[in-house]
Amino acid sequence: MAVDIESRTPVEDAEGRTVEELVVNIGPSHPSTHGVCRIIAHIDGEIVTRAEPVIGYLHRGIEKMCENRTYLQIVPLTDRLDYVGSMYANWAYCRAVERLASIRVPERAEYIRVITCELQRIASHMMAIGSSGADTGAFTMFVWAFDVRERVVELFEELCGARLTYSYVRPGGVARDLPDGWTDACRAVVDRLPAKIEEMDRLFFGNTIARGRLKGVGVLSADDAVAWGASGPTARGSGVDWDLRRDDPYSVYPRFDFDIPLGDAGDAYDRGRCRLWEAVESCRIITQALDQIEPGPVHAEGFPRLLAPRQGDAYDRIESARGTLGVFVASDGSTRPYRVKFRSPAFCNLALIGRLAPGHTISDLVVILGSLDPVFGEVDR
């Protein structure tokens, strides 16, 4: 609605007549673009013939800013990358720095990281499912899902004082230990969650209209998912059995028993359902982690106030709510990184939209976009 474009272009139709193709400009501010994405959709009647995403409306230059910050000062910047799942970017960055500086993280800190990140996965998936519900017009679903997210955010608030930008995971451990009574509160939230999730499953995914809207929309084949670098629930919805938590385990994940939900059709419905059941699996992981966690230090001993790793570069990645979140940190031996690169899963997943949208109606376009779950802080960095 905001940017003026030439909205009618003459094209030739199948029978060789010159017809006008309607160009609909969606975004950069549109209720269903989940942020500031712009999609230029060429439509024939209601059918999208070409969809071209234009990104960069939230490009804040975080990678450039990192070059003028010390290693610890970068942590708040990573919060603002994926603002729906800040813990992930914290953790991925810290893992890269720890690998670069050869820091060993205490076991309790690893457990806390797992617990917070799995909570974050629940929060993030609730946002994704809720907003894809809102895309199809089921606004109540959004409110219900957001209410679940709110419970998790309350836990985070108790933990680190922030509702959204936590800066909780720091290089060498976590910022502070769990507050008193937090584990009980967490357990109470996690115990109630699966029932709520099942209720939402019935409300939305069990609804005939929603099934009609989501099934068969934006079908992504498994081969395409791998070739185009899709990861996370976007790829798993297509049946790509690849989850870093299990396949290239990091932290203490090998100690937990959990399943990876997989879809088979690769449509918006399967992607949404995958997210929903991943949230249930996250509850399982959190419960196990709360059982196993032992008292101990939460930050590495003898951690320097000003980190200056030796020259070199390191890459590490974790499974975020959106997929493989990688961080590449290069050091020149000084107290500031030489280069920081964030491999954001949303960026790679969003590249698929031009491939998935053609042939669907404009109503489906927003559903497909929602099912890819982009977060533009992360896409544009």
Binding site: M1, A2, V3, P28, S29, H30, P31, G35, V36, G56, Y57, L58, H59, R60, G61, I62, K64, M65, N68, R69, P76, L77, D79, R80, Y83, V84, M127, F142, V143, F146, D147, E150, V153, R163, L164, T165, F376, G377
Partner: protein, 207 residues
């Protein structure tokens, strides 16, 4: 209105009728602030949270509508980049008068954490939009946003359309002595229209 006003003034020496109409209009405008959610980044999450179940913006008569033509207040929530600024300015122009702008979060207020070292961020949306209320925080809590909307209401209700009744644009900040300061329950606030006391105006209005 001018004629009615003149008659009222002739009869009572004050723009009687217009004052009552004025109070109703101000009350309506303050009470019904529909938001254009211009969520660009992180703050958008708190903007959503503010209108959902736990915080419920609708209690205050505010609810988000995505179409600028139907809204009164643009809540700019999040970092505004140079590339995004023209789009926001255009959306602002599409809003019908009277319209207000709330800058939510440090990025919209001043650039915030993205003030230094970055080449693409606008350092505060007041570079291109007339901002009425600034809300600090990174991100501000939903309650802060709601408080910002209440302050905007206060601001609207102390402005006036009646001749000689314009009030200086200044914020009523809650202070320790204000009965508002500690009130958590929004229902305790007076919902009757607050007809403002006219300040001494040397420019001369009718008395």
């Amino acid at each position: 209105m001018a004629l009615v006003d003149r008659i009222g003034r002739a009869l009572t020496g004050a723009p009687l009728l217009l004052t009552s109409v004025d109070a109703l209009v101000d009350w309506s405008r303050g009470q019904s602030l529909w938001a254009m959610p211009m969520g660009t980044a992180c703050c958008a999450m708190e903007l959503i949270a503010a209108s959902f179940s736990k915080f419920d913006f609708d209690r205050l008569g505010t609810f988000p509508r995505p179409d600028p033509r139907h809204t009164d207040v643009m809540v700019v929530a999040g970092t505004v980049t140079r590339r995004m600024a023209p789009a926001i300015a255009r959306l602002y122009e599409q809003m019908p008068d009277p319209k207000y702008v709330v800058a939510m979060g440090n990025c919209a207020v001043s650039g915030g954490i993205f003030f230094y070292d970055t080449y693409s961020v606008v350092r505060g949306i007041d570079e291109f939009l007339p901002v009425d209320v600034y809300i600090a925080g990174c991100p501000p809590r939903p309650e802060s946003l709601q408080d910002g909307i209440l302050q905007l209401r206060e601001l609207i209700q102390t402005r006036s359309i009646a001749a000689g009744h314009s009030h200086p644009r200044e914020m009523v900040l809650p202070s320790a002595g204000d009965e508002r300061a500690g009130s958590v329950d929004a229902r305790e606030r007076p919902s009757v229209p607050h007809v403002p006391v006219r300040p001494t105006d040397p420019g001369g209005g009718p008395e």
